[in-house]
Amino acid sequence: MNSKGMTDLVLKIENLVVHYETEDGIVEAVNGIDLQLERKRVLGLVGETGAGKTTTALAILNLVPDPPGVIKSGRIIVNGKDILNQDIKELERIRGKDVSMIFQDPMTSLNPVFTVGEQIAESIMLHEEVSKREAYERARELLELVGIPQDRADEYPHQFSGGMKQRALIAIALACRPKLLIADEPTTALDVTIQAQVLEVMAEIKEKYETSMIMITHDLGIVAETCDMVAVMYAGKIVEQGTLKDVFNNTKHPYTEGLFNCIPKINDRKAELIPIPGLMPDPTNLSRGCAFAPRCSYVMKECHERPVELKRINDTHMVACHAYDIQDFHIRRRVGKR
């Protein structure tokens, strides 16, 4: 994959650091992550609440709420454009056109005082030279595309169900065929049956528009269904990263292992669910060493002292864990039994 040219990279993040400077201290939300995403690929960004997934996503749009958020360092290249060094006019052109985002809570993410059609059309009018009528017509078509009858474009969000709102949001995000779509837990707020429908719509449209996607979720099932690549985040860092196969079948990081052990298995219902002990560390007070060390069952002395870095396992697979300095170390998870 290294042979592919730079032009095929839709997203490149280098050493991104984001802090929230609050009254109670500095929250180190994202602590130096690197990510790359190629055209038409889907990256799953996995981790617990508070791991820094949403902050990373917002940074890609340069929409980290400021104050209190501050992007301390890093480079983000979307579609060849350096996001963090654009003036506001240029950024407004990039948002919605090169990269757009679907947010977690469809219930509150649509503006209650404008019709759904207007909200989709607004995006089109911002980025393309079209008349109001054309934009509205396109908006109606987009609704159809996400499985909502065209004539409901004139309705207001409160007349839509949760699943329909999320589809409307997808229509807004896709209105200008962005190169990169970030979906931040797009189905968490929805019923299970609706979840499947929404995921299906996203998959179809992604195919059709050749959009790359970042799927932020804590649901490993969704990752397995939709993603090509996976990055596992913990306390603002990527602890394991690789292809779907690498991470699922050849799990390396103890935290990833922990995540898998928390999933009930349908074909082995007697199997004990093993929660990860402890809580996420206080993000205002991270230790120098591995942030996962206090909860890790393989912890060694140096884990608390020496910072960890991502190390290559193979061409695509990387893990950040000191244990792999030791020959023959392997985690206990029996792979392939899902």
Partner: protein, 309 residues
């Protein structure tokens, strides 16, 4: 929507009746007797009693009230004890002046307050916010009759820019309008600010930003439209308040409106005039409240949906 409006208008009727009953009742408690005012000084107690009987003043309260309301329907609220002029006529000849002042005040208020409130909320904690908040607090804490007097001292007595009283020419409305508008502006500004602070945290603004909407449009289209309900409420009630509160401004500037009519009537114990003014003004204020309620529907489709249900 039309059905809703009609329904609301019908619902207004019992309120108007109740309101007029309350006002009529309170004023009726006032000591002193009309007859003492209008009867010649040498009238004997018997003559006075006869006069009372003839005027129906000895009838039970509820009958007098009913008679009064009958008169109201016909546009007849009796005649002033002081100059025998028709109350209804006098009231409506004065009303335009009060409405003009109220609207001018509201205009001043909206013009200053809404942008100030928005800026204040968007730059929360900055010096802009601090200045706006100080303005809001001062405007709210300053009695408007005092503000009126201050304006007279500086702008008409010291600088001679505007007349200090009367209602001739556009320049005479400037100081009264500022007087009426300042307290309103303070209130509207504070409401705008807190309403905007509430709205700016909403997820849908993030959605708008994420699709590339310019920041100005995010604030003045997406956010302000949502923040408008409390602002309209305050402005509506303030229009009602300024109908009543006009008594101060109109007294200070000798502005020939309804407010001064009330004050003069009370000072001369002109009961029919007082009753008429209070009841008509209250009815007017009730209509304003209704208008505000209807305006909600145009701002927020969710409210419209509730109305039409």
């Amino acid at each position: 929507m039309i059905r809703y409006t009609i329904r609301r208008l019908l619902m207004l009727i019992p309120i108007l009746i109740a309101v007029s009953l309350v006002v009529y009742f309170i004023v009726d408690l006032a000591p002193g007797d009309v007859v003492d005012v209008i009867a010649p000084d040498d009238a004997s107690p018997e003559d006075k009693e006869l006069l009372r009987e003839m005027m129906g003043l000895n009838d039970p309260f509820i009958i007098r009230y009913a008679r009064y309301m009958q008169g109201l329907m016909r546009g007849d609220l009796g005649k002033s004890y002081v100059n025998n002029r028709d109350v209804f006529e006098v009231y409506f000849s004065r009303l335009p002046n009060t409405l003009l002042l109220a609207l001018a005040g509201a205009f001043v208020a909206v013009l200053i307050a809404v942008p100030l409130g928005v800026v204040s909320a968007m730059h929360r904690g900055s010096w802009k916010d601090a200045i706006s908040m100080i303005f809001g607090l001062l405007g709210l804490s300053m009695p408007n009759f005092w503000l009126g007097l201050l304006l007279i001292i500086f702008f008409s007595l010291k600088l001679g820019l505007f007349p200090s009283y009367g209602s001739e020419g556009w320049s005479s409305i400037v100081l009264p309008a500022i007087t009426v508008g300042t307290a309103q502006a303070a209130l509207v500004m504070r409401t705008t600010r807190s309403s905007m602070l509430e709205v700016v945290r909403q997820d849908y603004l993030r959605t708008a930003r994420a699709k590339g909407v310019p920041e100005r449009t995010v604030i003045y289209k997406h956010a302000l439209r949502n923040a408008l309900i409390p602002i309209v409420t305050v402005m509506g009630t303030q229009l009602g308040v300024s109908l009543g509160g006009a008594v101060f401004t109109e007294t200070v500037f000798a502005w020939p409106g309804v407010g001064r009519l009330v004050v003069d009537a009370i000072n001369s114990r002109d009961i029919p005039m007082v009753t008429g003014c209070l009841i008509l003004t209250t009815m007017l204020a009730s209509f304003l409240i209704l208008l505000v309620d209807i305006a909600y529907a145009f701002i927020d489709p969710r409210i419209k949906a509730r109305y039409t249900k």
